[in-house]
Each structure stands twice: as C-alpha cells, then as structure tokens.
Subunit: 213 residues, 2 copies
Amino acid sequence: MQAKKRISEAVIRRLPRYLRYIGELKDNGIEKVSSSQLGEKMGMTASQIRQDFSYFGGFGQQGYGYSVQLLFDSMKQILLKDQGFTVIIIGAGNLGTALAKYNNFHDRGFDIIGIFDINPKLIGKTINSNEIMCIDKLEDFISEHQPDIAILSLPRSETKDIAVRVANSGVKGLFNFSPMDLKLPHDIPIENVHLSDSLMVLGYKIKNFQEEK
Amino acid sequence: MQAKKRISEAVIRRLPRYLRYIGELKDNGIEKVSSSQLGEKMGMTASQIRQDFSYFGGFGQQGYGYSVQLLFDSMKQILLKDQGFTVIIIGAGNLGTALAKYNNFHDRGFDIIGIFDINPKLIGKTINSNEIMCIDKLEDFISEHQPDIAILSLPRSETKDIAVRVANSGVKGLFNFSPMDLKLPHDIPIENVHLSDSLMVLGYKIKNFQEEK
C-alpha cells in the first residue's frame, strides 16, 4: 500500500495524529471503528476521514467499519521505514539534552544513535547510553553510520553552517529547532519547529479572546 | 489598531513569522520594505502579504513600501500585551527544565515567573532564578500572581488533571507538550505542541522523497 504522490501537506500533517488516535483505540482493545466514530474523536467529519484514507487505498470497506489493527499497521507502514529511522542530535545544550532523553521519539520509531557538541565540558558525557562526541567527528560518524535525520538544537548563528555540513555528508532530513526558517540549496526535507512562534500564537489568542469578551 | 474578529487560523499562525522576518530587517538597519521584497524572503506572494496585512489595517501605503519600524511595532502590538505575558511551567523534568532555560521565550515577551513539580528531589532547586515549587502550592500561586499561561511539560497520565486545576484557578491559556490533543470543558485557548508528530512528518517526507527517486 504505497502512498500516492502529490498528497497535500495538510493530509501529511494529519497522519501522525491518525496514528495516535488509532493507537489509543488499539490500546483500549477496540477492534472496529467507523469513520464517523473516529471523526467524532478527532474533531473531523466522517467524509474528511474517508477522503484522507482514500489517498492510501481506503483501508477496507465502509459500512462494516475499519479494522483498528489494519489501520494501525497501515498508518505505521505509511509513516515509518521497516527498521525505523536513525537520528543524530547536534547541540547537547538544555534543549538537545531534553530531546535526547525524550522517550516518545524512541517509542514512535526514531532511534538516537549519536549526539554532538562543540563544548569540551560536554564531550565524553553520556545521555541515555549515547556519548556526546566532538563536532569534529561529525562527517566521519555520518559516513560510517548513515543516520536518516539530524536534529539541530544549536544557537541560531551556528545552525546554517552545521546544516550544510550535515546535508553534504548525506543525512536525509533535518529537524531544526533554531528560531529561523532553515533553507538549504540541498534538496532534502527540513522540518522547522518554532516553539516561540507557537507560544506567540497562544498569546495572540489569549489577548484577543479577552478583548472579545 | 485592534485586530478584527474572525481572522483565520492560518493568518494567525503567520503573525509570529512576520515578526521574525521584520525583526531581521530592522536588525539589519533596513527602513523600508515592499510587499514583494518581504514576500520573496518569506516564500509568499506580495498579494498574500497585502491581504494578511489588510486584516490589521494595512500598515500604510502601497507603492512607497512599508516602514519596517512601523510594521515591527504593529506586529508586536498585535501579538503581545503591553506588559508581555507571564508564564508558569508545570513539570520540571528534562523538557520543562529546557523550556525554563529557553531564552527565546523571554526575548519574545514571555516571562517565566514560576516552576512546579511533584518530585521532592527537584523542589527547592533553582532554574534561572526561579525556585521549583511543590505542585501543592499551584492554586495559591496562581491566585496571587495571575499568570497568563501554563506550560504543561508533564507525563501524559497527569496532564489532564493538572490542566483542569490550572484552568479552574484562572490561567488564561495552556501550552501543552504531552503527546495528546488536550481538550478541556473550560473555554480557554490551548496550544498543543506535538514534537513526535512533527518528527514523523519529517520521516514520512524522507521515506517518500526517497521512494519517488
């Protein structure tokens, strides 16, 4: 069941959410779910859900409901590689360390296999059985272990240079936490996570929510 | 210049991004910018930008370009309260600690004024001059200091209960890091940050990017 091309960004962004909700149903021992039941849980209409699923072959017959196990397995297969993804973290400061210890990444199929920093005080320390390595060893490590993803938890001023080094070495995608829209000449997927932007959106909503009252 | 009602979620989510880009122009000493120049930087069309700006009064005349200082001040005024927002963090684990030390929140107008945990080993420790307090003091603290926002960096199992306590005590918005779509009966803004979902989106793109080749 291979994903068709030209699936919209909005649909792609809903896929991990489907996996979460379907995983909950599975954990609760539920075997069948209809598109309207799933829609109710997720705040979507049944037809939105059927349309999203149609991009991936539909996942079985309507009217009888979907098999939760089939949905779960299919969603995992769509989102993950069979062996999961390998990840390196560059920047072992507060955020990088928290991300290295964040069990959810592992539980979702993302394995941290290396952590790098430039600070001699951090190099050699261990986070979850990963020793922090000197950034000088970055290219050798990537060449040897071929990680899929590099998480960049770096100061803004260093992010672009390191991103270029990482992309040149063959890492397949970047997960950037610097408050900038990282763009590279390299043709690889980049996901920018903007924590401050999200907090500002919340602030805007609070401010306007109060003003509307 | 008050925001009109019914501004779409997509426009609201672009506002912090405008602030970032306009802030960069300002830092680089640029005084005027046209909608097409700004659009080129941001990967948008000039007319998208003019349309977004029109919700907030337009920010001055076309053809002559926008005053960068006026845009910056206006965007800040739209997004922030005059005195900024006050924030408490609940859950001083790895992620909560990293967020407490994350300077970007402060730089964007969000001040951490309290940190709470249930773990006796953490209570009394200090993060950036904030002492970690026992969760038992949550309601008293909120009542006395009236924080705008609570950041929830808690185990999934505890998030809902704490969120209800916080909302009952009068906090105006929630910034939730648990891997769940937090919903409350309370009518307050909630922003769910799903780090694992974002990483899975990146994984999907890497997987399909490679398959397309």
